[in-house]
Symmetry: C2
Subunit: 443 residues, 2 copies
Amino acid sequence: MKNILVIGAGRSTVYLIDYLLNNAAAHQWNITVADMDLQLAKSKTGAHPNAKAISFDINNAAQREAEIKNADLVISMLPAFMHGEVAKDCVRFGKHMATASYVSDLMKELDAEAKSKDIILMNEIGLDPGIDHASALKVIDEIHHKGGKIHTFKSFCGGLVAPESNDNPWGYKFSWNPRNVILAGQGTAQFLENGKIKFIPYNRIYSQTETIEVAGHGQFDAYANRDSIGYKDIYNLSDVKTMLRGTLRMPGYCIAWNSFVKLGLTDDSWKIHGSEKMTWAQLIDAFLPEGPGNMEQRMKEFLGKDASEDVLSKLKWLGIYEATPIPLKDATPAQILQDLLEKKWLLRETDKDMIVMQHYFGYTLDGKEKAIISSLVVKGQDQIHTAMAKTVGLPLAITVKNILNGKITSSGVQIPTTKNIYEDLLTELESFDVKFEEQEISL
Amino acid sequence: MKNILVIGAGRSTVYLIDYLLNNAAAHQWNITVADMDLQLAKSKTGAHPNAKAISFDINNAAQREAEIKNADLVISMLPAFMHGEVAKDCVRFGKHMATASYVSDLMKELDAEAKSKDIILMNEIGLDPGIDHASALKVIDEIHHKGGKIHTFKSFCGGLVAPESNDNPWGYKFSWNPRNVILAGQGTAQFLENGKIKFIPYNRIYSQTETIEVAGHGQFDAYANRDSIGYKDIYNLSDVKTMLRGTLRMPGYCIAWNSFVKLGLTDDSWKIHGSEKMTWAQLIDAFLPEGPGNMEQRMKEFLGKDASEDVLSKLKWLGIYEATPIPLKDATPAQILQDLLEKKWLLRETDKDMIVMQHYFGYTLDGKEKAIISSLVVKGQDQIHTAMAKTVGLPLAITVKNILNGKITSSGVQIPTTKNIYEDLLTELESFDVKFEEQEISL
């Protein structure tokens, strides 16, 4: 029997844990689901004979060490900044580890020791990062294998709401951590365009966007992700001249969201003293420059050329001009905005979310200009069985299986950019209807 | 004999130390000027019989303690974040302390102990903060004494270049720490306007400005300082409805500077990997969106309605479109911009700087609307004898004298908002031609 320890039983773990439970008997796995909230952990394991739920405190070193010692592989579903102690213990006790988070500096430091102990620290094995790497590298490797030279790589992903559940003007509901949505884009985006380095700071990340068309699903707004250039080497794109990774939103979302950026409502760096004594109307009044007219008219004046009917109606729909009390004490503008949006953008019980991913590969082969567009659309079933949980959880689960059954023998810090990891992963994902459509174009 | 220890002998100390030396014999002071750079300290003390210069390392605890023990009063001219150890030792050994910096949280924590030992921790006793407090409170106290109710208080200050030395299109040269100029305005400004709290985030602090007229000196741009509301209680302005503190720049400076904010060039939070391999032209190209035309045309398109001839010529004058190599390795955008501006905005040997300060007090007295405008303009003599060094150094020096001669008997953390501190200070400053002009208006 192999022991798998899953730390964290939050909302992105439903498909992960179901897969592990469904495969436990066949592969002789014991699954331990550990969470601060024992009831939550129990709700995920049910009465499965190969599974147990435990109450778990990541900061209790004795418990953490004992559970990790007892495991063959540890899956950390904690927030990214909490992986550190788990990773150190995994390496110390010679246990495999898997996370859906970006490779951290601490993780990199553990690479040599992990290799010496022949264990794998598998990272970025969710959706984005995760499926994006796997699906991009599959096509990149194929083009390179044929002798093609890739000059353009653009890749976009968005966690959205399915059209049939899209009943609010923003076309957005939360299918993952709302805080990350509020703070998204902060920093400076870096990418390559026609051989040149390009920077977009936060103050124009939601206005300097592009429009992406996904066949059969229409158009989407796309804004640039923080660091695209760092992936040039990781993706073996030594000839690339244009390289951009970005995030998709429904058309019109970005320029409307930019209103919040301009107002200052996405700022998480300072606290509004006495915010609990303010209403939303007062908050907007405080951020809007003084001027003639009511607040809606002042907002229109403030937004200038961006003040379309669409933007103004999106803002009004949120109720930001109403005298609704702010329920948070001494909160940051970002916290106050998040509180409002969590109510307005709630994914309801029967709502379906939708994942959209699209890669564009422009390349030269035998002197001819060609392109491949590879697209993925996955819809969720309901509030619990989201496309987000599915596409984050299944890559983790499948890859954990492939590590434990010896199909993946790599060691040290890994992400799914090598064929031995991505090939079986993408094949098995297709059986869950997570399948890319490829379109070849001769230009 | 009383011993005064001056820690730090940088460029804002020239008037401070000269005043202390000139008054040393009459008041029986021994002056010790302590700096990392012994030659710099020596250049300030000269061969004065009551003064000595020492090489001093603030992080050498033994030396720091010995020197502070030996002093009756310590003046810290270090950067603000370095006052902590000095303040702790001053309180421990029962010595007075004076700085021109804002009261820090650490300083507040030392208040009770300082009071119990009957020593004063005198802060914010330079120009801004310093003279601004003293001169504002003088008028506020007078209006209150007459029974007036102040509803409006606006206060502006700028360290500028004198018109006779103003030979660049920005109307700006560095008379103090350039880094502070580059990063100025970051955060969110908070103030009161017509009884309402108002916020201005960094992305529009240089566009949401106002124009201030100073009689005989023309107009200036004014942008809001970070926290004006915090001064409501400190200034005893319980009835105030409009309260704003701001910074002055020459007309046209702010909207031109806003170009750098929009581009992302004032960002100090991330490093441009390989900046030493780029030219200025490439840097601007990286921050400008792609588009038709040369870089000047793209800048014009980018700035939109703000792209006046004046703004465009200011930018061009800096040479930002030229293929000048960037001399800094892996630097932040703000560091790269500072490096350029330090060359372009150098205060030359015979240049004169200029301090402009203006307060506006709107009040009701005997049922009538009145206003007082109180203005200060101080010009420097040259690159060394700047108005900045004069107006930062003299308030410190004069107040130190008044502490040591027993005119000021307050203890604990103080700023110059009380009559026992500001009255003698403002009177003596007038003998140095640092004199406010007051204008009364009946509305």
